[in-house]
């Protein structure tokens, strides 16, 4: 891996008896990174530690090679953050607030106003930028939150559940915007519990469950699978028994079988088994692994 933008070693975070993160070792490259996990998995805690907003109870965190705990201001000057909840003064216009947050990010006042206008246009709020934020709908607020996160030209943006509370059209727009951020040369950490959103936008996946790291690898590697999916016309029991006798791992759901062999050509083995048992075949093909499959399998494994 090229120089990782985020690295953690033995990261632990506890709130009293609750272990939000346990021994998380990470190395993440530049790009669009999906931070996946159920509610309470530790995603928001990890993001806040990366920003130096929380001090971990153990371990170390580096962002662009800088310790987030020892030099949080240096890290924050290169990072933008979109929190999950609201973060707006309701009686201020979007243009004023985003311009102000640009100044907080270290941009000169003269530049901030122009930047705010450009970024609000980029997120689709050009017409509404002089309206008070308190009058914004949920979708508009999400866009404005994204605008304040990127207005100061950060190298990395941490987005905490950016699509939550959005209707399907709003979600679509937000995912498109996140995709574009990568095109603008920004790395993105996109936290979500909606696995489909991560699959559509990210090229690297960090998967957490109950504070433990389940997976940390490219999405392509997660999707790659040796499994073959077989859909049968008849009772699958004889075929399952024959496949297992040949050393296959079989997961059956009704008449659909996911079959994996450690050695040999699975298609040849399956053809032979079907010929041997006389079970009718509807379809046969490589299995497309989704994040959901991986997440459920890992969760089952850890329980």
């Amino acid at each position: 891996m090229a120089d990782p933008i985020i690295a953690t070693a033995g990261l632990n975070m506890s709130f009293g008896d609750v272990h939000a993160l346990q021994d998380v070792d990470l190395e993440v490259p530049a790009g669009r990174i999906g931070l996946v996990g159920a509610n309470g998995a530790g995603k928001s805690t990890l993001i806040k530690i990366l920003l130096g907003m929380l001090n971990p109870t153990g371990g170390a965190t580096e962002v662009y090679g800088t310790s987030a705990q020892r030099h949080p201001l240096a890290v924050r000057s290169r990072v933008g953050y979109m929190p999950e909840g609201d973060c707006f003064p309701p009686d201020q216009s979007a243009a004023d607030f985003v311009s102000y947050t640009a100044e907080l990010g270290g941009l000169p006042a003269s530049e901030s106003r122009q930047r705010a206008s450009e970024v609000l246009t980029l997120v689709g709020l050009a017409e509404e930028r002089f309206r008070d934020l308190g009058e914004f709908s949920t979708g508009m607020k999400q866009r404005a939150k994204l605008a304040q996160a990127i207005v100061h030209s950060p190298e990395l943006v941490l987005l905490d559940e950016p699509a939550s509370g959005l209707d399907p059209d709003g979600r679509e727009d937000m995912l498109n915007l996140i995709n574009r951020l990568g095109d603008f040369g920004m790395s993105v950490v996109f936290s979500s519990h909606v696995l489909g959103d991560i699959e559509r936008t990210c090229d690297w996946v960090v998967m957490l469950n109950e504070g433990r790291l389940l997976r940390n690898e490219p999405l392509a590697a997660i999707r790659a699978s040796n499994a073959v999916q077989v859909v049968l016309l008849d009772d699958p029991a004889p075929a399952v028994a024959a496949l297992e006798a040949r050393g296959a791992r079989v997961r059956a759901a009704d008449r659909t079988l996911d079959v994996e062999f450690d050695t040999g050509d699975p298609f040849v083995e399956i053809r032979d088994v079907l010929a041997e048992t006389g079970v009718g075949l509807r379809s046969l093909g490589s299995k497309q692994t989704t994040l959901e499959d991986v997440y459920l399998a890992e969760e089952e494994y850890t329980v």
């Binding site: 100044e103 270290g106 450009e118």
Partner: protein, 295 residues
């Protein structure tokens, strides 16, 4: 005229210029605080109270200068000199308004940021908690100084113009150049600490202002009663009296502090100085501790 057209896709433009330091970031927070307090770039109803108080503080000064212009040729200068309030007297008047101004301004500086979760945005930017708090206190200091200084400047310049000897008036009253800002600082130091602490905990601006006004008024009454009946040192819990005593000392006019629990009990002005410093220090520590849990 060129026949060639060009289409520019502005898209996203990275900022490649210089970044400002923390001092500029703090200054941005100070300016934001001033705008909040004065209701600038906000709806008209947000401007009513602060600007109403500012007008109330400045109008009498303008009226006094106008009255002096009107009565200048009447030949009753000596008689009028006793009637027309001077700088110290005027301070005694604006001081009461400053108390109300601080009651309204301080919640505006702290409560919306906390209740609307804007603190999360501050916490994600390259600035410290101390930067934020110092800048917010700086915002209040700026507006309070302006609030107390503007009417004094009106009086000062009015007096200079009316005297017919501009330079003579200015050089003859040089002491006012330190007395007026020092008096303003004394008022700020006496009152802002408690106002900030109340605003650091209250969730509604109106409630914070009400608690502060109630606390200040009640503490005066309680101080008077307890100092008379239990122990004279209870007089020191009268916050407003400390400001009166300090202003009286700065301007050398004892009548400003007359009738307060502190003067009635014969407590030295030094006690007021120590009390004000102690209140400001305690308020700073409490404010920092409170916000350390939030940011």
């Amino acid at each position: 005229m060129s026949s060639e057209g060009a289409i520019f896709d502005l898209d996203y433009r990275r900022y490649e210029g210089e970044r400002t330091g923390r001092a500029k970031v703090r200054w941005a927070i100070v300016r934001d605080g001033v705008r909040k307090v004065l209701g600038l770039r906000r709806k008209a109803r947000r401007k009513v109270l602060p600007w109403g108080l500012i007008i109330l503080a400045v109008l009498p000064a303008i009226a006094i200068v106008g009255f002096q212009v009107f009565t200048q040729g009447l030949g009753a200068d000596e008689l009028l000199e006793d009637l027309i309030p001077g700088h110290a007297d005027y301070f005694g008047f604006t001081y009461q308004l400053t108390f109300l101004f601080i009651a309204l301004a301080t919640p505006e500086l702290l409560i919306p940021d906390r209740v609307s979760n804007v603190l999360t945005v501050y916490a994600s930017r390259p600035l410290t908690l101390l930067d934020y708090l110092v800048a917010r206190v700086g915002s209040l200091l700026m507006v309070v100084l302006a609030f107390t200084l503007i009417p004094q400047i009106v009086l000062y310049l009015g007096g200079a113009v009316l005297s017919g000897d501009l330079v003579g008036h200015l050089t003859g009253n040089l002491d006012l150049l330190w007395k007026i800002p020092t008096g303003s600082l004394a008022v700020f130091a006496t009152q802002a600490g408690v106002a900030f602490i109340i605003s650091a905990y209250a969730r509604r601006r109106g409630i914070a202002a009400g608690i502060y006004i109630g606390f200040t008024i009640i503490s005066g009454g309680v101080a008077f009663g307890l100092a008379e009946t239990v122990n004279r040192w209870f007089a020191i819990i009268d916050l407003q009296a400390h400001a009166s005593v300090l202003i009286a000392e700065i301007f050398g006019q004892e009548n400003i502090a007359e009738g307060t629990a502190l003067t009635e009990q014969g407590i030295s002005p030094w006690v007021s100085i120590i009390a004000v410093v102690a209140i400001a220090a305690a308020a700073s520590v409490l404010l920092y501790r409170r916000y350390r849990k939030l940011m």
